[in-house]
């Protein structure tokens, strides 16, 4: 179900908006427009929709308009043109009260520098959203304490934010957002100010949380690895425009243009490549028909020393080596039953390369890629390493 729908939204900062708009249509770039009109393109003609329960990541370099876009969603910034629908309601047409109601009940925001009120205790911060809604003291304390408890922060409730570490402060920020029980979480670079290890913990926590509570999350980041790690879908922005929307996989294997491609270069490929991207066609032998001689001939033709063994239904059975096949041929055996080995590890095509790296580096033989018992490919150490090092071009052509 569509939760948020953004239709042709544009935000231009400054005066001379119309002349700026004309220049965008003439495909002038952002700096030129700024020079000529003094107006800054915040967001230009953004359209997308976000489904309920989805983590939608907005990614882009500094100044690309991410913060502006997310603030348009709760109308902290008013769009110059275009419409934004939350649950089908056009929030651009709402009056102040209606807008406040939406902010109070439907969406909460988490900030890059945590946005905690320094003079309020952790508990009072967590209560803030409930407090402005006019919820009685007792009830809001109960709710806020429950939210803090979930974040493991209840013992700190009477401390001031400045007494907590960055990671803990951001947990308070998240608890404050969740205490409201909103449908939508807006997170503007929520983890960017944290150091890498804590950041990863927070990402895990967010994913865990998402398993439990299923919010619709708009997550802003300029870090591709973070985007790929937590995003169900990713929107890439440049100079206020959205240039590609898709799953991490889609964007990586099919970058929309050179800009996306350069953006992708610094990504740690192992985190997103799946087994399917790196596997190659298996050279196999049919245990029900083929004997040692056929196997040897095929090995010679294909220049391999190992064949994967399957049956008539392509079900994975094991493997045979060249040495064993030679022995069996000398003994005059008619089938490969006696030399069939079964100690080969198998993986599935949708597993992440990252997760199979351990298995593959310890094993001296290739890994079988099996889907529903059927052999679909083989994973060879050399090819995996090569695909990790390769640029986008080669991964795309591997398909």
């Amino acid at each position: 179900m569509t939760k948020i729908k953004v239709e042709n939204v544009t935000k231009i900062f400054g005066k001379h908006i119309n002349s700026a708009l004309k220049l965008v249509e003439q495909k002038k770039n952002k700096t030129e427009i700024l020079k000529q009109t003094g107006a800054t393109i915040g967001v230009y003609d953004a359209s997308f929709s976000v489904n309920e329960g989805e983590i939608f990541v907005i990614m882009g370099l500094s100044g690309s308009g991410k913060s502006t876009l997310v603030r348009l969603l709760n109308h902290l910034i008013e769009p110059t043109s275009g419409s934004i629908y939350i649950d089908g309601e056009n929030i651009s047409k709402m009056n102040k009260q209606q807008l406040r109601a939406i902010r109070r009940e439907k969406m909460s925001m988490v900030f890059q520098n945590f946005g905690l009120f320094p003079q309020r205790t952790v508990l009072a911060n967590t209560e803030y959203g409930l407090e402005v809604r006019g919820i009685p003291k007792e009830e809001r304390t109960k709710k806020a304490e429950a939210a803090l408890d979930n974040a493991g922060l209840l013992p700190y409730k009477d401390q001031l934010p400045s007494q907590l570490s960055g990671g803990m402060q951001q947990r308070v920020g998240l608890a404050r957002a969740l205490a409201n029980d909103p449908d939508i979480l807006l997170m503007d670079e929520a983890f960017s100010a944290l150091d890498p290890l804590i950041r990863k913990d927070m990402q895990d926590e967010l994913l865990d949380l998402q398993q439990k509570v299923r919010k619709t999350i708009i997550f802003i980041t300029h870090d591709l690895n973070e985007a790929l790690r937590i995003g169900d879908r990713i929107a890439l922005m440049k100079d206020g425009k959205i240039i590609q929307i898709g799953t991490g996989e889609e964007i990586l294997t099919n970058p929309a243009n050179d800009y996306v491609r350069t953006f992708l270069e610094d990504v740690d490929r192992s985190k997103v490549l799946t087994v399917e991207n790196a596997m190659i066609r298996p050279i196999s032998v049919n245990v029900e028909i083929d004997g040692p001689k056929v196997a040897l001939k095929r090995m010679r033709e294909e220049e391999v020393s190992v064949l994967l063994a399957i049956d008539k239904n392509r079900e994975f059975k094991g493997y045979i080596t060249a040495d064993d096949a030679l022995e069996a041929a000398k003994r005059g055996e008619k089938n490969v039953d006696s030399i069939l080995k079964t100690d080969m590890e198998s993986v599935t095509p949708d597993m992440l390369i990252q997760d199979v790296l351990g298995i593959i580096s310890e094993s001296s033989i290739p890994l079988a890629v099996v889907k529903e018992n059927k052999l679909v490919g083989v994973l060879i150490k050399g090819v995996v390493i090569q695909s990790l090092a390769s640029d986008t071009e080669e991964v795309t052509s591997n398909e």
């Binding site: 902290l76 406040r100 925001m109 900030f111 520098n113 009120f117 003079q119 803030y128 959203g129 402005v132």
Partner: protein
């Protein structure tokens, strides 16, 4: 050359101002005399009350407040005891109490007017553009200029003294309130807005608490400025230490002038340190 310039008739600014003042005094005289009488009574009441407190108790209470406000340090408390005893010893206790009343009244009125003005200024660019030049104007005027409308409206005495002090002491509170609110980090304002605060909730729960220490710096200046008006206000008959200074000046009594001046300085230091230490908490 001069002839050409001289041929331009004098623009009647002074006359116009006078007409306006005449109009105000004659048409609003009832209001002004009401304020004059009410103000005088209220202030006399407070002064009498302060005088009726036995000086020893008064001094000890101030010392105790100083001790607590400076986080249990003895410095200011001891200074207050010695300084106030000195003033008492010099026979200026009643004058001091008159000055205290004058400062309290003018500071409180300046704060009551100044904070809302500062808030208004921080919320509206139009208001800021109007108020800022007025404040500049007020601050560049020498303090005794305000005595003229004060006398015109209220005659002589303590009320016009307070009136002139308020105008003179108002600007810092307005400016610092505006500054303090504008200095609240953007992210915190956004946090307040994004959780659906009304403008009022945002002001009370977020902006004012965060602007507090800046505002206190402005209030401290306001109090000191109103204190510095005490001497000037005595020219139009406001009682207190200022009048002692003035009369010593008129009679060329160096010794008396020194004692009264020193008493004012002692009082000023106590007030300054006290208001500053409230800020640090």
């Amino acid at each position: 050359m001069n002839k050409i310039l001289d041929s331009i008739p004098t623009v009647p600014v002074a006359e116009t101002m006078e007409t306006i003042m005449d109009w105000l005094t004659s048409n609003l005289s009832a209001l002004f005399s009401f304020i004059q009488n009410g103000g005088k009574n209220a202030m006399n009441f407070i002064t009498d009350m302060l005088i009726s407190i036995p000086p020893v108790i008064f001094i000890l209470v101030i010392a105790l407040i100083a001790f607590i406000a400076t986080k249990r340090k003895f410095g200011l408390a001891i200074f207050a005891i010695v300084g106030l005893l000195f003033i008492y010893n010099q026979g200026l206790w009643e004058e001091l109490m008159n000055t205290v009343t004058l400062v309290i009244f003018s500071s409180i009125i300046a704060i009551i007017i100044g904070i809302p003005l500062g808030i208004l200024m921080s919320k509206s660019i139009v208001a800021e553009n109007i108020i800022k030049p007025i404040l500049d104007f007020m601050q560049t005027m020498p303090g005794f200029v305000y005595l003229i409308p004060a006398v015109a409206f209220f005659g002589i005495g303590v009320v016009p003294g307070v009136f002139a002090s308020v105008i003179f002491a108002l600007p810092p509170t307005v400016r610092f309130t505006n500054l303090g609110i504008r200095q609240v980090p953007r992210e915190l304002v956004e946090a307040a807005d994004s959780y659906g605060s009304t403008g009022w909730q945002k002001l009370i729960k977020v902006e004012l608490p965060l602007a507090k220490s800046t505002m206190m710096a402005g209030i401290n200046q306001t109090v000191l400025l109103s204190l510095s008006m005490v001497v000037i206000a005595s020219m139009i008959g406001a009682p207190g230490l200022g009048r002692e200074v003035l009369s010593a000046l008129q009679r060329a009594q160096v010794g008396n002038g020194f004692v009264a001046g020193l008493s004012l300085v002692i009082f000023a230091i106590i007030v300054d340190r006290l208001t500053q230490s409230f800020n640090k908490k």
